[in-house]
Symmetry: C2
Subunit: 318 residues, 2 copies
């Protein structure tokens, strides 16, 4: 394998950290980051792409590490005024973040694709690496709760994940096509590794794999597919993953992650990279035919992200 | 005349001050403020209505008195980020102001009329009086410069009024209808006075009068029509009025204002209220058949606005 191009699939915050790590240790042409857009939604006339923005802010060095989401040095003046104007206040829009939504929304409305808009905005922020939506077509993640099917952000932010989730679906996925740069990355001669960033399998990775052709294209490439587990110490670092597993009657561990990928997507993973804290999961993972690697997967600082990224590349033989 | 309803026509900042004064001295049902929408424009996917907002902020007590436009306690985080994202930066959008544009834009797109949106937003801000766009139909003021016809805000803000204006036109005015509440105010049995606020005749009042039927409806009502002059001491308090008059080869005084209304709109004004500083204009105004009243028209503080509003009502016999 002489190539060295990496295709990373990412969701929001956790995935974005590894994506930023990979970007820090590769040159611009050696990495394509494909981002989940199932969480995107329309709100107050704006197209909001939370995962795309998390990845963009992380790569631009603009992410707020303390809050864990959004832009650093953020203020909330527009949001306070929107509430005073009687507009829905359940989704918090920072003033700096709002600029991203405004720029994206008007350009989408003017006819640009999400790929084109994202390429433009990330370039303006000085990002050298390709940040690519999984699709330019509309895919919307919905969860089934006692209240019926509701849009992901309504549940995730509006409901704060309180309602139990019985099922997840990706509206539009069956008609969606991979974004052009995603397709191009899948076909690159120099593709050397595929990385599933430590994102929620049900909510962040499944939408990407649900796009017709994607799963098979990934499986057909004879390059290592390495998944970094979002589980650390029998829990999820952030987000509703642990709660969702528990609601499914599953123990929150790497076995649940591996089983999900194997049951739903077949023999896709070549290696699962897990945290030292979960070393006890190794035998059962190996028993399921998985190669397992163990390291420290928690990413607090830039140095953590870069070290983990280098370890992923080493596993892939890059 | 037993009625006491006042119909005020207003442009931006100067007009908004008198509108706020009138609101301060009348009950909610006794005042309809009709606002110029010719300066409105689409920018970054948002519908921006500068004069409507000036009036709204003034009535809600949110206007920034020091800067002279926009909202008090304003910040500019979104704007800085929009510029970082490579978006046009010539029109400064404050974070709090942006909330107004977002709320208005998405509701317009959802099918509400500008009248409906404005009624909703002003009510949310605690405004009891009717703030009404001159029309729910699109009217766009354009100015003719050496560069051809350009949209008003491009010239006013983008060009900072530098280019000489040879002509002004109101695109769409001939097909526009007065907004429903404007029409209703024109037909009210209890209408007692019509007030032209101290706004630029060419840019703020003419667009309103250009809507088919408006000029005649105003003239046919047998109630005093009182114009408060935007000229103080042979100059305009704010904005490009003085420059525009000079470019037309006219002396900047009340005669130019009176002549403009008489030449273009016939016998419409019953009384022109001017500032003490321009008392020398009185004889020539009277010679043109105008009733002239003289007072202090500069409005620095709320007390000035209310005193001037009361004087206008007194002239109207209310």
């Amino acid at each position: 394998m002489s190539g060295k191009h990496i295709l990373a699939l990412s969701g929001g915050v956790g995935g974005a950290k590894l994506a930023a790590g990979l970007a820090a240790v590769t040159s611009g042409d050696d990495l394509t980051i494909v981002v989940n857009t199932g969480d995107d939604f329309e709100h107050l006339g704006l197209t909001i792409c939370p995962d795309m923005d998390s990845v963009t802010y992380a790569l631009a060095g603009l992410n707020d590490n303390e809050r864990g989401w959004g832009v650093e040095n953020e203020t909330w003046q527009a949001m306070a005024m929107l509430r005073a104007l009687g507009e829905e206040g359940w989704f918090n829009l920072g003033d700096r973040d709002l600029a991203m939504h405004i720029a994206r929304s008007w350009r989408l409305r003017a006819g640009e694709t999400l790929s084109q808009v994202t390429a433009r905005l990330t370039r303006e922020l000085g990002i050298d690496h390709a940040v690519v939506p999984m699709s330019d077509d509309l895919v919307r993640t919905q969860v089934l709760t006692d209240a019926g099917w509701i849009d992901f952000q309504r549940w995730f932010v509006g409901n704060q994940c309180a309602d139990k989730v019985f099922d997840v679906r990706f509206e539009g996925a069956q008609r969606a096509r991979p974004a052009p740069e995603f397709r191009a990355a899948l076909e690159r001669d120099d593709l050397a590794a595929i990385v599933l960033c430590p994102s929620n399998p049900f909510l962040s990775v499944d939408p990407i794999l649900s796009i017709p052709g994607v799963r098979d294209a990934l499986a057909e490439r004879q390059v290592p597919l390495i998944a970094v587990s979002p589980i650390i110490g029998g829990s999820a670092v952030k987000g509703p993953l642990a709660k969702m597993l528990a609601e499914r009657g599953q123990v929150v561990n790497n076995l649940a992650i591996a089983r999900h990928y194997q049951d739903h997507w077949g023999d896709l993973l070549d290696c699962l990279l897990i945290d030292h804290a979960d070393e006890a999961d190794v035998p059962v993972l190996q028993a399921r035919g998985l190669t397992v690697a163990v390291t420290r997967t928690l990413m607090r600082e830039a140095a953590d992200r870069e070290r983990l990224a280098k370890e992923v590349l080493a596993i892939a033989g890059i």
